[in-house]
Symmetry: C2
Subunit: 193 residues, 2 copies
């Protein structure tokens, strides 16, 4: 378990992905764990908190999610850029030791039979909301967030604090191939700072 | 029309939103234009290029989209943070002069009967892909991108170049209320720089 991990109120959990980070998707079924990268993950609802994630039919993680009915979304960091690129370009279908070869370490949280990726700054445990049409025709999966945690060094009291933390903890935002941007500086409007 | 606007190949248009910016959604029907802000917009497919956007039932823009069957997604800038906050907090239902009061100027592109917001850095003209279940149950709208343009000062040859441009042109990434982040610095993995 991550030393800096704190629980996040479900009503604020959408804020963990509201700024559009590229995420890691993890799942477990029948003793098999996998982790993939996804730039196409987005909040969908506040109450209950839901999100969407696009999972190509070729991905092994998608199968694990269809079988187990649950998955985790996590927000990786600049320090993990190589890991994110690696898990996004190697399939468990081709390498049964993918996670080890990509340098992925996982941990668990009580009550959630999910592999969570160490070193991330936010974790959202999700129950799959089955929607056969969306899954089949659009590769679009809907998850209801059932628990969430964050690294208190960068997320606390409902807000990110990237500007106060080590730059290596900033979120990654994928463009294409090996090209990402880190999240930048705060912009506050309307005297709410 | 924007002086720096260049067309973007449809095969690369997903990259305009792949890094998770908060967007402006605009639409027109029967002589009425509107613009709203949306943090929940996400790429959905490459070929044809599709995207999703979540539109609450209370929004006037949603009605215009349902009636006209089309909309535009655009990527606003740090310089437009107040405008983004303003159009996200004032409804056309309450103020028929919303766009003027929020400082929104629009322009058109030939062949597309859509109001495009001046000062943004990317514009995606979308045809609504009607999905009554997703629209009604999830407020989730799917658009097929039929044309795209970008500001060549920050997007050219398929890549963003925020690092080479004025910081006021960076994309905005919403957290909550008046709190945004600007996109930051590039992170390149795997010798693809």
């Amino acid at each position: 378990m991550d030393n800096h991990l704190i629980p996040v109120d479900l009503g604020k959990a959408y804020r963990l992905i509201n700024h559009g980070p590229t995420v890691l998707v993890s799942a477990r079924h029948a003793g098999v764990d996998n982790v993939m990268a996804a730039a196409w993950c987005c909040a969908l609802d506040f109450a209950p908190t839901k999100l969407t994630v696009v999972l190509d039919k070729a991905t092994a993680t998608r199968r694990l999610i269809e079988q187990s009915g649950q998955f985790a979304i996590q927000v990786p960091t600049v320090a993990q850029a190589r890991l994110v690129h690696a898990v996004g370009n190697l399939s468990l279908n081709d390498d049964p030791h993918k996670l080890r070869h990509c340098g992925v370490e996982t941990f668990g949280m009580p009550g959630h039979d999910l592999p969570l990726v160490a070193g991330c700054t936010a974790w959202l445990a999700c129950a799959l909301v089955p929607e056969p049409h969306n899954q089949q025709d659009h590769d679009l999966f809907i998850g209801e967030v059932v628990a969430a945690w964050a690294d208190e060094r960068v997320f606390r009291k409902g807000y990110w604090h990237f500007q106060d933390a080590d730059p290596s903890l900033r979120s990654l935002h994928h463009v294409a191939g090996g090209h990402f941007y880190a999240i930048g500086e705060p912009v506050v409007v309307g005297g709410e700072g």
